[in-house]
């Protein structure tokens, strides 16, 4: 079902920000039409003059950039460059002190739930409860994302087989190795089919088999989903990303298509 008004708007204004920019009411509710509109937008994350400090230390200093929908966007930089801070701001976990950011055209201050529905986040630590089994952990997160039981059961079985953790589904995660916990964390991240994957060092702690499985999974979805990936492994980043953004001392020092990436930067 498509709203004829939205259909017309799509033809006239191919980008969502132009639609809202002309004074049309900002769409707040979660409707199929709205999700279609966000897909139309070429720019999925747009930051302007973003600044974040921790006390006196500046983590991000007036950075501006835009990530387009689809593909893998690499976020490179040494330790303390501001990559994780930026990921936390995109995922609405952190508020910038100045500047603005929109994710899927939504303001994280106001429409954070709409953003959270569309993102899957992998951080430095697996977000798993040690006393619960892998299955219970995944079921818990599915409930938070409002996934129905049938989809949840299918998703858990399919993904756990794919990521090679099916036989550990009913073991408490506290007895599992770091690599197995990381595999469960990847399933947790993808089980609700997010439109945007925010992956902060996603391959850390994974063996070659799991890394290949996850890379295959991302490659399958790179045309329909957007991935923002931070990594210290520049070779992997160069092979895997479509474009890049390098941060150094809280500022952007280079960005562009990955073919122009210079490791010396």
């Amino acid at each position: 079902m498509q709203d004829p008004f939205l259909k017309l708007m799509r033809k006239i204004f191919p980008r969502r920000e132009l639609i809202t920019g002309f004074g049309f009411p900002k769409l707040q509710c979660t409707t199929v039409q709205q999700i279609e509109v966000t897909h139309l937008s070429e720019i999925i994350i747009e930051a302007k003059e973003l600044t974040r400090r921790y006390g006196y230390r500046v983590a991000l200093k007036k950075i501006s950039f835009a990530f387009t929908a689809g593909g893998v966007h690499g976020l490179f930089g040494s330790n303390g460059a501001g990559k994780t801070t930026l990921m936390r701001i995109i995922s609405t976990l952190l508020r910038p002190q100045s500047g603005s950011i929109t994710v899927f055209g939504f303001d994280p201050e106001e429409d954070f739930i709409e953003i959270k529905k569309r993102i899957g986040l992998i951080g430095d630590k697996p977000l798993l409860y040690p006393e619960l089994t892998g299955r219970e952990n995944l079921e818990f997160y599915c409930k938070l994302y409002g996934i129905d039981k049938e989809t949840m059961d299918n998703g858990i079985e399919t993904l756990s087989r794919r990521f090679g953790v099916f036989k550990w589904l009913d073991e408490p995660t506290k007895i599992l190795s770091t690599g197995l916990r990381k595999r469960f964390d990847i399933i947790r991240c993808v089980i609700h089919s997010p439109e945007l994957f925010l992956l902060d060092e996603p391959f850390a702690g994974l063996d070659k088999e799991a890394t290949d499985i996850f890379k295959d999974y991302i490659n399958e979805h790179r045309s329909t989903k957007t991935v923002v990936l931070t990594t210290h492994n520049l070779r992997l980043g160069k092979d895997f990303c479509d474009d890049y953004l390098t941060l150094r001392k809280a500022e952007i020092v280079a960005q562009g298509p990955i073919s122009e990436f210079d490791e010396e930067m």
Binding site: S91, T92, L93, L94, R95, I113, E114, K116, K117, I119, L121, G123, D124, K125, P126, L127, L128, Y129, P130, E131, L132, E136, F140, Y141, K143, L144, Y145, G146, P172, R188
Partner: protein, 224 residues
């Protein structure tokens, strides 16, 4: 609204399941409560006047709650799982509500054993309507759980958590403690100058105020 409530129940269920498997907090709470009752019973020769018994009972519940309520959010920060709750598409108040339900169930399990033991060892009984007695314990426990969950959330960013938690919990929960002692004394020996119904209304108002204020400001505790 429905999904936020079901998320709150899912959070509570997850915490109860975790707690029943590790049994650390519940064991500490039960042990503290039991030793306190035994100590008072021996010190007072097993004959405790009802007005003192009501105070002892609620002070034990109040302090026992600290063992259960303090780790409510601190355990989430230690395991790093708070981030998982923070990025889930649910309102912050549903996380808070889930934790209040968990705190209430945890304390309720301890009270199921504690109250009969108190009644036996301290020779304490209630003369009032059983429903009013049950209502008082349910509302009182919920109130402590609401304050305890918020105190635990506010303690999260602090480096000296064990110092900060009582600083937040004690003054906020003391007003409810005084009301509950007065109400329970009335339930044991009959109403004093203030009618029991009026005290019950005040404690309900306290609970509603605590939950509303805490749920409203809770999003600031979740995001930096």
């Amino acid at each position: 609204m429905t999904s936020a409530l079901s998320a709150a129940f899912a959070i509570a269920k997850k915490d109860i399941l975790s707690q029943l498997r590790k049994r650390f907090e519940i064991f500490a709470m039960f042990l503290f409560a039991l030793i306190s009752v035994l100590a008072f019973a021996f010190a007072m020769g097993g004959q405790v006047p009802p007005e003192i018994g009501s105070a002892l009972l609620w002070v034990i519940i109040f302090l026992t709650g600290m063992f259960g309520f303090a780790p409510i959010f601190i355990s989430e920060t230690e395991t790093g799982t708070l981030k998982g709750l923070s990025v889930a598409p649910i309102p912050a108040w549903s996380v808070y509500l889930g934790k209040v339900i968990y705190g209430f169930v945890l304390m309720g399990i301890v009270e199921i054993f504690l109250i009969p033991i108190c009644m036996i060892l301290l020779s304490f009984s209630f003369s009032a309507n059983i429903f009013l007695v049950l209502g008082t314990f349910i509302i009182g426990t919920l109130d402590f759980a609401a304050v305890g969950a918020m105190a635990s959330a506010l303690t999260m960013p602090s480096e000296s958590k064990s110092t900060v938690f009582p600083i937040v919990y004690f003054p906020t929960a003391t007003s409810a403690l005084i009301l509950l002692v007065e109400l329970t004394r009335g339930l044991a020996i009959g109403p004093g100058l203030i009618p029991l119904g009026f005290l019950f209304q005040i404690i309900i108002a306290h609970l509603v105020a605590m939950i509303t204020i805490s749920a409203a400001i809770f999003s600031y505790a979740l995001t930096s």
